[in-house]
């Protein structure tokens, strides 16, 4: 289960605030995954006291609304990433970035599909730069794209381009994954699927033996 409480002293109308919160949730908490199980209790409550003395935000299209939305995105993404980082049994955070989609929603869908893949997660734990599993998870996300435009990088290491696997330094790529695991750091997976303006991210973690151990012992 994930729970969240967000507070602000910004001055904002109710309908604007409620829309902002849903947008930020979609860009943050709804883009994390640890084990693919959606809880019965997931909740985010966001409260705005209005005590900052700032001008009231009553129009979602105003520059001030855009500024507040960015701030809300940042806070929720910071918290969301810390949940994925702290995933049960995890040794590292996985950040999947997708560019070139038709829109933000499609990019986000592909990113979460990759971050959710048990096989991708297990490969990261096994320090296996398995571009095939990444490509597979992107492909079944439900978003059509041209395979010939698929490009996949792991950190700075390009694994696939134009839909073709590339020769790469497997030892260096495996080392990148191992080092991230040793310091509980971040593994970055970058995917490009075309030339569209859509960009999105998702966050997960690797899948270790400890995940099974923890949940075999935590009774329901």
């Amino acid at each position: 289960t994930m729970l969240g409480v967000v507070t602000t002293d910004a001055v904002v109308d109710s309908d604007v605030w409620r829309k902002m919160v849903q947008v930020s949730v979609s860009r943050s908490f709804n883009q994390i995954t640890v084990d693919g199980d959606t809880s019965t209790n997931d909740t985010v409550i966001a409260l705005a006291s209005g005590l900052s003395g700032a001008a009231r935000i009553s129009n979602l299209s105003s520059p001030e609304a855009a500024q507040l939305q960015s701030c809300l995105d940042a806070v929720m993404q910071g918290l969301a990433k810390s949940i994925a980082w702290d995933g049960e049994g995890a040794t590292c955070l996985i950040e999947v970035s997708v560019v070139g989609a038709n829109n933000e929603a499609e990019a986000a869908k592909i990113a979460r599909s990759v971050a959710s893949s048990s096989l991708v997660k297990a490969a990261v734990y096994g320090r296996d730069p398995n571009w095939g599993r990444i490509a597979c998870a992107a492909g079944y996300a439900g978003v059509p794209f041209n395979l010939n435009e698929l490009r996949i990088s792991l950190g700075d290491i390009l694994l696939m381009d134009g839909g073709q696997p590339l020769p790469f330094d497997r030892v260096a790529a495996s080392s990148y994954l191992r080092k991230a695991g040793e310091v509980h750091g971040t593994v970055e997976i970058q995917i490009s699927i075309g030339n569209g303006p859509g960009w999105g991210q998702a966050w997960g973690c690797d899948l270790s033996y400890d995940y099974v151990k923890i949940n075999a012992e935590y009774t329901t």
Binding site: D42, L51, L68, V75, L79, I83
Partner: protein
């Protein structure tokens, strides 16, 4: 059974918060960083093991504009159903009460009545309307909350409210379950011509694949 959390760091360390880059500055304070908010976290005897805080409260000095996003799981926990109704009734809220230990999910009518009882008791202590109290629960699914322990702890929880970093940190610890770190963050940024603050806390480690609306 209840005790006050005096040093949240003694229970679990702070999470690394990976804030995106932008025109904001990270500040201390978590949920209490913004003006008007207080928080507390105490041990109320709800956890099955240990004495880590398990009861958190966040309050606002004024009627805060409220919003929520909730699981779309059809088997939604009683607090989720309650909060959705509360947000339909009122555009503002004054407090969020959170317990760890029992999720109060799949607990039927009895579990829903537990939520009503908790909200009503806290509303009475804070001199608010029940719908101004929002409730979140986390823990073991299928178990009703330990209501007697929770209700008995409310006076001490309210007395512990603080606008400080310690208040925010103790609340952030109290909402954790299998988490290894507490998650709290706050930023300050200029919106229009005025600096505003946003802060937050979260919990989560397993059963994580949110789809909230």
């Amino acid at each position: 059974m209840s005790s006050v959390a005096t040093d949240a760091a003694t229970y679990i360390p702070a999470a690394p918060i990976l804030l995106p880059e932008g025109p904001w500055q990270e500040v201390t304070g978590g949920v209490t960083a913004a003006k008007g908010f207080k928080a507390a976290g105490i041990y109320g005897g709800l956890r099955a093991q240990g004495q880590k805080p398990d009861l958190a409260l966040v309050t606002c000095d004024v009627h805060a504009i409220s919003a929520g996003a909730f699981t779309t799981n059809v088997v939604a926990a009683a607090p989720v159903v309650y909060c959705k109704k509360a947000l339909e009734i009122s555009k503002t809220a004054r407090a969020v009460l959170i317990n760890a230990g029992q999720a109060n999910a799949a607990t039927g009518d009895a579990g829903y009545q537990d939520v009503i009882d908790c909200a009503s008791s806290l509303a009475e202590i804070l001199h608010l309307k029940p719908e101004e109290i929002l409730i979140e629960s986390t823990g073991v699914i299928g178990h009703r909350i330990k209501k007697r322990e929770l209700l008995d702890s409310l006076p001490k929880l309210v007395d512990s409210l603080s606008p400080t970093v310690d208040g925010a940190d103790s609340a952030a610890v109290a909402i954790t379950t299998t988490d290894l770190v507490r998650k709290t963050v706050a930023i300050e940024a200029k919106v229009g011509e005025t600096y505003v603050r946003l802060g937050g806390m979260a919990k989560g480690s397993g059963m994580i694949h949110p789809n909230m609306a």
